[in-house]
Symmetry: C3
Subunit: 139 residues, 3 copies
């Protein structure tokens, strides 16, 4: 059994979805794993991970907009306000989506649908540097 660890750094500029599929595929292609599991974890609780459609950018806009309305940036709604009006909504949006994605690798390729892309979902207003752990385990 082989195990390989790698960290991808993503720089975000405000709320929205950031496609990191290519970085993940680059990591996969540089390691000759035939079959196995790729476990991806975000090391933060105010940004999250999702698999979404990679065809129409409007889908990404609508997704971000839905979460913006569902979890308002309104200090009156929360007790935890010391880190800014966007911090508590960011934690809630993270809880509603995912902190990790687990993909299967078969014949050297990720098992993903034609229209599936990997996204970091940023929920904070300020620029951020986000760490996304990649862990490949297989043969």
């Amino acid at each position: 059994m082989k195990q390989i660890f790698h960290e991808i750094i993503l720089r975000t500029k405000g709320p929205g979805l950031y496609d990191f599929t290519d970085q993940t595929l680059d990591f996969l292609n540089s390691n000759k794993m035939l079959n196995g599991i790729l476990n991806i974890n975000i090391l933060h609780t105010s940004a999250s991970l999702i698999i979404q459609e990679n065809a129409d950018p409007d889908v990404l806009y609508d997704l971000n907009n839905f979460f913006k309305k569902l979890v308002p940036m309104d200090n009156k709604l929360y007790k935890h306000t010391t880190e800014g009006k966007d911090d508590m909504p960011a934690h809630i949006k993270s809880a509603l989506t995912n902190s990790h994605l687990t993909l299967s690798i078969k014949d050297g390729k990720t098992i993903l649908g034609t229209w599936q892309g990997l996204y970091l979902f940023e929920h904070r207003l300020e620029n951020q540097t986000r760490r996304v752990s990649h862990h490949l385990m297989g043969e």
Copy 2:
């Protein structure tokens, strides 16, 4: 280490929860894996996967109904409307639930609670053919 890949095809007829626990158990029983991980991924972004109560069908009705009200099929709310009024809500509902489930296998059996079943959560109105990848890794 052994790895086995399998794809389950589910035909859906409108929004709601479709139990595929039996198909997953059939796949497990036909392969003599003692201990390991079963990684299940849906290859679409307008349907999702959840583990839910398998006792009372009203639970499945209420779940679907809650998501229907939370994410309205109303074109005025979205920019991405070219694929029908149900498409963008389908992407959002998928983001709110799961694109994959990772189960543990011990002594040849999935570690699941007594009342836990595996469901595909269909979010589109038209009939669909859904691909659900199964990847067994262990010994």
Copy 3:
């Protein structure tokens, strides 16, 4: 390849987030796994698992409060009411969060961010005994 199974029992007293990070780390430390996957599954459908900030308790309060308002305990909204006004909301809140967490282990340590803790999210009103399966697989 080594595989180790363990079950953590958590006793909950009403809705809210219960930190079980220490119990998980105790399990890890008592087993000398260098690199691998830790798959954590909750064996219930009316409580769930999330990774969240472990610094400010107000975050935990606000999270619970958000879900309380999003999924009201109001029997008029649901068909499944025989198990109490809190049961159907508990299933919905579970569907909106996670039934499992998959962590990566590197050099004997979980890959988690500085502020990330592991929480059981209880959604029922009465005291409960919750089973959380831990499955370690690696070398």
